[in-house]
């Protein structure tokens, strides 16, 4: 029962942000369905969303192209947002994110290897392979940075490991045939373009299983936020829990990387925005809301990527890195050292 208390207390602070995020989601949904080439009438959009099927071009456009893309954006964003909260909690480090700790780089290297070397791997197995790559990348970083207590130290280790993995990736690119390589470039920038219901089907099982699992881990995140000593004192096996959190996080990210490529900085920003909006660090609240926040961020960024320079489309990963990276930079500079507290 004690679980309920903080939620009741902060109920009022919760309502407004969630409403705002829901409004953003609704707006991006409407814009995502309506705009593009061609711009579709509201009536047609409405009927196409409510009653999928039909033969007209507009119906097919909405229900077969725009809708799955939007749904993939939602799920990917939610997974990324949740993984960011988990990772920042697990490492007790507000600057941590999968793109900075080698997970994204490892996962995308594996997928790139599959693409370029034409390894006979079925699509269903690709998330698992990406997972293995992501885990390997993350493990290298965690092992290599063992002992360096500093926040920035670990991030720098992560960066250099990522740089190495990217170097290998360029080697692959140099070896590949130009056709594969062009596919690979688009993939590596992180894009939601050309996704269909097939991709949705591949993503849904992971989404349905992993997100609740992440929610279950919120309590451990809360304990870890108190610091290792306090958590140990409260009877938690810190090392094991941290490993569990990191593996879960790698799972969440690897799935998205396998489907959409490495989309940067969403998982870094979503928890920060959420904590700022909710004015709490209680992971039981932050985790679900940051999933919603990640979904809102990614779908907004994707709408931007699709419509900004229409008919030319810029992969969404470019935008998230451009905008998210700048915000992150500002944050680091304002926060000076970037210690775990505050």
């Amino acid at each position: 029962m004690s679980n309920r208390n903080p939620i009741m207390k902060t109920g009022r602070t919760l309502i407004l942000p969630v409403f705002a995020l829901a409004a953003v989601l609704a707006a991006t949904f409407a814009a995502g369905m309506k705009y593009g080439t061609p711009v579709i009438d509201w009536n047609v959009v409405w009927s196409a969303v409510l009653a999928p099927g039909g033969e007209e071009l507009e119906h097919i456009l909405v229900s077969e192209i725009r809708l799955p893309r939007y749904i993939i954006g939602l799920m990917t964003g939610a997974l990324l947002g949740a993984s960011g909260t988990l990772m920042q909690g697990a490492l007790n480090n507000r600057l941590a994110g999968p793109e900075l700790l080698g997970i994204s780089a490892g996962a995308s290297l594996v997928i790139a290897a599959v693409t370029v070397l034409r390894l006979p791997v079925p699509f269903q197995l690709q998330p698992l392979l990406a997972l293995a790559g992501g885990l390997a990348g993350g493990a290298i970083v965690v092992l290599a940075s063992r002992g360096s207590r500093g926040v920035a130290g670990m991030l720098l280790v992560g960066m250099s490991v990522s740089a190495m993995l990217n170097g290998l990736l360029v080697v692959l690119i140099a070896l590949g045939t130009s056709n594969d390589v062009n596919l690979l470039y688009i993939y590596l920038l992180g894009s939601l373009a050309n996704r269909s219901w097939e991709h949705v089907d591949r993503l849904i099982p992971w989404f349905a299983v992993m997100l609740p699992v992440a929610m279950l881990l919120a309590r451990s995140v809360n304990l870890l936020q108190l610091g290792d000593d306090a958590a140990t004192g409260l009877g938690m096996k810190v090392g094991r829990t941290r490993m569990l959190l990191l593996v879960t996080c790698a799972l969440l990210v690897a799935v998205t990387v396998a489907q959409c490529g490495p989309i940067g900085y969403i998982s870094l920003l979503a928890p920060h925005l959420t904590r700022a909006m909710l004015r709490t660090t209680d992971a039981r609240l932050v985790l679900p809301v940051s999933a919603i926040c990640g979904a809102a961020l990614l779908s907004a960024a994707d709408g931007f990527a699709r419509l900004m320079f229409a008919p030319m489309e810029i992969p969404v990963g470019v935008w998230t890195t451009l905008l998210g990276g700048s915000v992150f930079l500002l944050y680091v500079l304002i926060r000076r050292g970037g210690g775990p507290v505050g």
Binding site: S160, A163, N182, T321, S326, V332
Partner: protein, 353 residues
């Protein structure tokens, strides 16, 4: 490491210093011959020597050596020397062993402005010198930005590198954005962001060497003052050095070196990190000695990396790719070598600050 810290033992050190320089120069010459001799068609050393001296009879050999391989290796040497020198200057000015032109956003800034210039400034065709100037502006803007953002609050080493790396990724994504918007073709994105020596000809060489020579001279003129900076800002100011002006001048020199190199070969990473470090092991950290040694060593390294990249792709062809053999971009080789080195520097005890 403390050897030659304050320029003591100058007399006894000079002989070994000259020896180091001579060995490096010999290595560089060896790399030159090796690089020219080895390729898809290999030549014997004698053939290379003949072609270089202009006494070769075979027109094909002459063409390959003079028009394809020699400019490439010369550009590699110049770019390597300039990046190494820039790295050494930056490490001295920021008093931070983790700094490198590629890591603090200078290369990325130069690349971004080159791409911008190619798009919106038609006068800046690769044949005119305009691109170098554009790169210069971008690199300087980046270095001044990073310095202003960090300089005031003390240069905690790791933090500077952290902001630099994030800034680099932001700038790189802006570059990708521009290239994609202009439908430049995706392959040029990575080519610029990683750097390559493929297809460099005499035009690139004639671009790069005046910058390199002039800026090397400037760096050597400033080196004596730069050595004072290592004592700390207060001490240097107390000894009568205009600290801020000197720092800015050195930073701009480093930015110009990087920018000129980048405008010819793209953002080749980590050379400016490894070169100065090894050079410091060899000749100590007195800038007057460090700068030339670091430039020479980095030239050797970049040429060797390019040679390794080429010979690897020529030797190990993966199954199914026999028809498509392009050589490895040199940026990939330097990153694969440099990133572990960076890791080692980070993990070394006492590297914290």
């Amino acid at each position: 490491m403390a050897k030659g810290m304050f320029g003591r033992e100058r007399g006894s050190f000079r002989a070994s210093y000259i020896l180091v320089l001579a060995v490096l120069a010999a290595l560089l010459a060896a790399m030159l011959v090796l690089h020219i001799a080895f390729g898809r068609t290999s030549f014997s050393i004698a053939e290379v020597a003949k072609a270089l001296l202009g006494v070769s009879k075979d027109a094909g050999t002459r063409h390959i050596v003079w028009n394809l391989r020699l400019p490439r290796v010369l550009v590699a040497m110049a770019a390597g020397a300039m990046l190494g020198l820039a790295g050494a200057i930056l490490q001295v000015v920021m008093r931070n062993p983790l700094v490198e032109p590629g890591l603090i956003g200078v290369s990325a800034g130069a690349v971004l402005s080159v791409v911008l210039a190619m798009q919106w400034w038609p006068g800046a065709a690769p044949t005119s010198g305009g691109l170098s100037w554009a790169a210069l502006a971008g690199g300087m803007a980046a270095v001044v930005l990073i310095y202003l953002l960090n300089g005031r609050r003390g240069n905690s080493g790791a933090r500077l590198a952290l902001t630099g790396i994030v800034a680099t990724s932001v700038i790189q994504s802006a570059t990708s954005l521009l290239l994609l918007r202009n439908q430049e073709g995706l392959s040029s994105v990575l080519l610029w962001n990683f750097g390559s020596l493929n297809g460099r000809v005499w035009m690139h060489w004639s671009h790069i060497w005046p910058w390199g020579l002039a800026l090397f001279g400037l760096a050597m003129l400033l080196a004596r003052h730069a050595s004072l900076l290592r004592l700390g800002d207060e001490t240097a100011a107390g000894l009568g050095l205009a600290v801020n002006r000197m720092k800015l001048l050195l930073l701009l020199a480093a930015a110009a070196l990087t920018a000129a190199a980048v405008s010819a070969v793209g953002a080749i990473g980590f050379i400016g990190l490894i070169g100065p470090h090894i050079a410091r092991r060899l000749v100590g950290s007195q800038p007057l000695r460090l700068f030339p040694a670091s430039a020479l060593l980095s030239a050797v390294l970049l040429t060797a990396a390019d040679w390794a990249g080429q010979s690897i792709t020529l030797t190990f062809v993966l199954p199914g790719m026999q028809h498509h053999v392009s050589s490895l971009p040199v940026g990939a080789v330097t990153t694969l070598l440099g990133a572990p080195f960076f890791l080692y520097l980070l993990r070394r005890p006492g590297a914290r600050r």
